[in-house]
């Protein structure tokens, strides 16, 4: 599994490479996901990736989500299988209009133990 930071100008976007399969494992997409600790769910996919996986043929009841700016959006939802560093597990994929960068949310981070772990020595103390 690759997890790394990209682009100093973006203050190092934390990325990880995963393979997302549909539940039947008949289709897959390789994605570089932005690790987003503000996203509670599994993975947020652009609509095209969601359709490529044929997740439109196995949707659950839609979910609603609140953004940090208080906006409420409708999310399409389907089960997926995520391959993270060779380990595969079931999760949920979400999509909505206008998703440009796929996100990896806290549901997957919790399973993978990818938790925020600050260094012992900080540049300035935070108490």
């Amino acid at each position: 599994m690759k997890a790394y930071f990209e682009n100093e100008d973006l203050n190092y976007a934390p990325l990880t490479e995963v393979v997302v399969y549909n539940p039947l494992k008949t289709r897959s997409v390789n994605l570089k996901l932005v690790i987003d600790t503000g996203f509670q769910g599994g993975v947020l996919l652009p609509l095209q990736a969601y359709l490529n996986l044929r997740l439109n043929l196995m949707e659950e009841v839609e979910a609603t989500a609140a953004t940090a700016t208080g906006m409420e959006v409708k999310l399409r939802v389907a089960k997926v299988i995520i391959d993270l560093g060779g380990k595969q597990f079931e999760s949920k994929a979400y999509t909505t209009l206008g998703v440009r960068r796929p996100l990896l949310g806290r549901e997957v981070l919790k399973r993978a133990g990818l938790l925020y772990n600050p260094p012992k020595e900080l540049k300035f103390p935070i108490r």
Binding site: P23, L57, M58, A63, L75, K79
Partner: protein, 130 residues
């Protein structure tokens, strides 16, 4: 091809409407066909037109399927309901069997929902606008 409906538009520019009507008459067309042509041209000029079109079509089918799910199940069933083309195809004991059946049918949208239905839809935090 989509269906037709009556649309009333408030505060439409009067002169613009007269022009549309005149052109429609000159070209032996209906006002609706002129407006449809103009709106189609505007839609195609949008950069995200393909995505929005796919979304709108999915959403229309989803609403039809959701209605079928609510109307045609008694609420006592258990398992995984497969709903597509506005019909409950069946209730499966196994999620993957429902998914396989859905792939065979190849509708434009299908739902596989665990029964009994949960009362409230999922609500979650999305963080920053993506």
């Amino acid at each position: 091809m989509s269906g037709k409906r009556v649309v009333a538009i408030k505060n439409f520019d009067d002169e613009l409407y007269r022009l549309i009507k005149t052109y429609a008459s000159l070209e032996n067309r209906t006002v609706a066909s002129v407006i449809e042509e103009a709106v189609r041209g505007w839609l195609i000029s949008r950069s995200d037109y393909g995505e929005v079109l796919a979304w709108v079509r999915l959403e229309k089918e989803y609403q039809r399927n959701l209605e079928a799910l609510r109307k045609k199940l008694s609420g006592r069933e258990e398992g995984y309901a497969l709903v597509c083309n506005g019909e409950v195809v069946g209730v499966f004991s196994n999620y993957l069997d429902a998914a396989r059946k859905s792939m065979q049918i190849r509708a434009s949208e299908a739902m596989i929902v665990k029964l009994p239905l949960e009362g409230k839809p999922e609500k979650l935090e999305l963080g920053m606008p993506w």
